[in-house]
Symmetry: C2
Subunit: 297 residues, 2 copies
């Protein structure tokens, strides 16, 4: 089947959703409809890629066979898949496939799969462990959970979106893995902010310090991605502090349900919550350094 | 000057000190004396490498021109450099060079340098950001602080001990960098233990999870060094939980003096302190997973 024969809709046209849409459009897929609660966001993207700016989620299902959802959180996800809302994505969903890419609680994926199947549709979770640039370039790290046949059916789209594609199991499993990835990443980020902040307080050369970190047990992926940004206060948003707080929260809910006590994840969530409280939630996660460097914040 | 002309003493023959001694011995340096508060430890090493097991620190200074110290903590360091103790390293120290490799508070290095210089000796801090295998193989990551001429004089020994040698500034600077390295490493270790522990609680395949961590923002050096050990409960000691607690404590003292609040470093110190409390302080730092995996500890 040629790319152009895939009729795709995108619901949630924020940083990730809009760039996934742009990429698939570039790759020759037919993006037929986009929707966002912020109408202007959907309209601008629709004009850019020649799609319809749908006035309600149900219109996306009507026009598209594959519906990619990238909404903000659990509540937004529940809303677009509401059984009681006649304008939800579930209307006339028979034969359609939902690819749900937002970072949300694992249980929501399980629930959405059930709701979709009840209407004769398929549902797949596609958890992205990457950021905006990768969405735009189709180089996402993409973990999928759900029924194997849904995965197989969506594979051409998934392949186009990703550079590393992994089927991890039933619905909800990918979200669990993603929650763990982000929980650990957030802790490592907050840790780096403490290390560099204290280095700054001691008057150490931060370039030297980062070089030493890179060559020793302090090395981490976030050192590569966020170290210089912390030093230079360059907090242009790739992954916001508010999102970090949300994702750590998802992991902590899983821990709570499992009866585990995770003090570092908790301390990290408090740091990112604090950023939201002081009005810095929309800074990049590297902005957590604003809390630990002397004379900032 | 040939290696054999360097008369070297080693004070503190624990895991690191003994292996530094073995390596330098293999490299043809003359290890003339070793000392440890645990007499048997010094005696066994002395026999192995043909050195004298000194009965007091002063005897090491008497026999050696270069004295490498690798003691447990600040107190042990103060004791071997005591001004009031006639058996301390300071006795007849004129012309000698002390190379202090223990992980201790930065201020101690400053104080020891002063004491040494008062006696006409030189002092250099050599902070190791590596572990036992690297000490044995002479492949340490070695950061030095002190006077440049002391560094130059000791360089043939330092070169033999290390694969990466870095002069970072005045006495105490290397210890500051080391404290920061270990503070961040310890946080990342405790973070990984939380991520894998929660993964285990959710019934996720931990090999898969570690693969995903390695390819995403959750990647870190400690994932490489400690991930499998956490999964397999293989906590043979390279860097003990008790040492982790000590080093995080040094960093937190620096933070306190600088007026910084570092909640993750604090939460991490509490975890490693807890390991000591429950009698697991001598496990490797990877043993912190015993606190976070379901059904352990």
């Amino acid at each position: 089947m040629a790319h152009s024969e895939y009729k795709i809709g995108v619901v949630g046209t924020g940083r990730m959703g809009s760039n996934i849409a742009r990429h698939l459009h570039d790759e020759g897929f037919s993006i037929v409809a986009v929707f966002d609660v912020i109408e202007a966001a959907a309209r601008m993207l629709a004009e850019e890629i020649g799609a319809e700016a749908a006035d309600r989620p149900a219109r996306v299902t009507e026009l598209a066979d594959y519906i990619i959802t990238v909404v903000t959180d659990d509540n937004a996800m529940r809303k677009i898949f509401s059984e009681s809302d006649a304008d939800s994505l579930l209307k006339s969903a028979e034969g359609k496939l939902f690819l749900n890419c937002a970072t949300i609680s694992p249980q929501i994926h399980v629930d959405v799969e059930k709701l979709a199947e009840k209407r004769g549709a398929q549902s797949l979770e596609g958890c992205m462990a990457s950021s905006i640039t990768q969405a735009r370039d189709g180089t996402l790290y993409l973990m999928c959970g759900g029924k194997r046949d849904a995965f197989d059916k969506a594979k051409p789209i998934l392949d186009s979106m990703s550079v590393a594609l992994r089927y991890v199991g039933d619905a909800g499993r990918a979200a669990q893995v993603k929650a763990l990835v982000n929980m650990v990443m957030n802790i490592n980020t907050a840790a780096l902010a403490e290390g560099l902040g204290l280095g700054a307080a001691l008057g150490l050369d931060l370039s030297m310090l980062q070089e030493v970190f890179a060559q020793t047990g302090a090395n981490s992926r976030v050192l590569e991605t966020d170290g210089e940004d912390m030093e230079n206060r360059d907090h242009e948003c790739y992954f916001s502090a508010a999102h970090a707080a949300k994702d750590s929260g998802i992991a902590l809910e899983l821990a709570k349900a499992a009866g585990l006590n995770l003090p570092l994840a908790e301390a990290t969530k408090r740091q990112f919550d604090k950023m939201i409280e002081i009005g810095k939630g929309e800074l990049d996660k590297s902005g957590v350094a604003e809390l630990t460097f002397p004379g900032r914040g």
